[in-house]
Symmetry: T
Subunit: 69 residues, 12 copies
């Protein structure tokens, strides 16, 4: 909430279970290489179908983080 500069990147997380786990997988992956993650925004919710059911949920998120001084 101060005079920082933020950068946002776009990732797509996947999950066999559901929307929220797909989002968590994207954020977890981002946290492996980027520090200071702050917020996310969902921009697309999709998935792949097999045998009349959702096989994979795929959720695209913008993830914002603080650029360090």
């Amino acid at each position: 909430m101060s005079e920082h500069v933020y950068k946002s990147i776009e990732l797509t997380g996947s999950s066999k279970k559901g929307v929220e786990e797909a989002i968590q997988s994207a954020i977890k992956k981002a946290s492996e290489t980027v520090r200071n993650l702050r917020w996310f925004q969902v921009t697309d919710t999709r998935g792949y179908i097999e045998k009349g059911k959702v096989a994979y949920w795929q959720v695209t998120v913008k993830i914002g983080f603080t650029l360090e001084d």
Copy 2:
């Protein structure tokens, strides 16, 4: 479904658990002061990140209700 007039307002609900609970929290709050709530539409799904996980889910909904005669 008759010749009523509807009004819609925009609220953002928060939850530590997930998308649906965040929506339910916004609707519950609206129902404390507004009668005749009828429908909602999700307009934005966001959240805050702490320690590589979603700390708060924040879902913005338009909520429609009937204006009484």
Copy 3:
């Protein structure tokens, strides 16, 4: 992923339980009459409210399938 042609249709699934079950209900219905379903994309998330709670979740999805040769 080959030189197929895909068609997409738009369905709205309903559920008393939540977003994912509403999507699954739309896909299950589509699979009763259409073969080779491949993917879906969420285009709208709505619902009806009764007594200050979500009574029905209604999620609209585009569903894509391969047109057979």
Copy 4:
């Protein structure tokens, strides 16, 4: 308003008279082959011009109907 699944299709109705008659013509045509029409949404309003006047109104609507069990 129950746990039905809805499908929506996109039609464009035409009329020499005006917007509402163009919409009615699209809905009437759809009702010849599809049962259980429930709602429509206008997505585009266009028309053709001849001699400085609107010759044809053309209104595109999404039309939703219940898929029977």
Copy 5:
């Protein structure tokens, strides 16, 4: 056109007759409780279908009014 502040609200009017009467019904309802209504903008045109005809026209409008000093 002076240094006023305007507020806008979103209402949906209904009518059995047509688009314009649905808009008028929303504006009339708003004028019962809000003063200084100034303008409107159509944001959605929908309706319900019964027996192959439009049973109700439903038009959503943003309505702007001057906040008094």
Copy 6:
């Protein structure tokens, strides 16, 4: 429908009566100075309110015409 080039301009027509007359007024005005008008598309529907009623309907249209060889 041949290899012509078309140009489109944006006009806003006004009317005390309704949406269609506002569109007709814009097209009539365009036809005073431009030849070969072919089609229009509605891009915005607004209006001004006085005494709880619509005083003026204002409809913005893109109007397309053939550029002569």
Copy 7:
């Protein structure tokens, strides 16, 4: 250009060669089962990448056709 009713469907064509061939493949496929195709509109242009090159172009088009009386 008369008082017909048009329906539009959404197809995605694929091609190893380029955008226009992908569109042509979708239209050719549609023409196998639907008569009176009249127009198309591109709504999405995508593709798959292999070895640093476009392996498949995939173009999504809305295709409109006249509903016969």
Copy 8:
């Protein structure tokens, strides 16, 4: 940043001086009757012209505030 519920309203501020003062005027007006204002988002920037210059800047903002428990 906790499990609060937020509401957002839409105001248009005016100013003879510029964009930022128009936004400040909307926020100041909102603060006269609403507590706990938290954020704003610009949704439209317009203005009126007189004698070849901007006479009034008009900026529309969504303003969010916490609903108290």
Copy 9:
């Protein structure tokens, strides 16, 4: 606010100083050849960067004017 017809054109103004001066430059240029300018709406805000600073601000505006009778 009467039954006039308005036309809108799209210009992009440039300035080394800032957003508002870029808008003023577009309006000033338009006023050299068009009479009865009434309003503008910002549709895009861009700029060119040199040496880590904004070298030129470029703001695109729709400018509306009354067509004379």
Copy 10:
């Protein structure tokens, strides 16, 4: 890239051959009457179908040019 003012107009070019030739035809036509054309942006790609093939490609472009001092 200097403090010029730019104007943009919207044209639709047609071609029997493809997308790029349709764009070139619009630009060539514009250059017959307007000087200092600088850039274009595609805003719509459509076409007419005859006998299961694209008969005409129609591409709409915004074309920008410098207003001379």
Copy 11:
């Protein structure tokens, strides 16, 4: 199509020849530094004009790739 996480970046490719070569140039450039490129989506098609012809085609694409475990 498994539980991978994908990242997407936005590049603009240029070409004197046409749309497809501009896209290929962006993908080729990306492949020099990023592995596992999977798909692209066109988000903007523009170009620069010289002497009444397209001098450069510029196509902006989102390019998605798999983040390695």
Copy 12:
């Protein structure tokens, strides 16, 4: 303006003073680690409110730069 490939990234700059300084802060930060910055485009203008005034302006910009050969 040549056959370069450009990449764009999305940053959010903050400022206590205003919109333009927030944009400059994002560009300055980007220039610390990226060479050949060329242009920016504003995609979102927001801010935080304290005591009935804007406490922080936050402007999100896409920033484009040339990828070196």
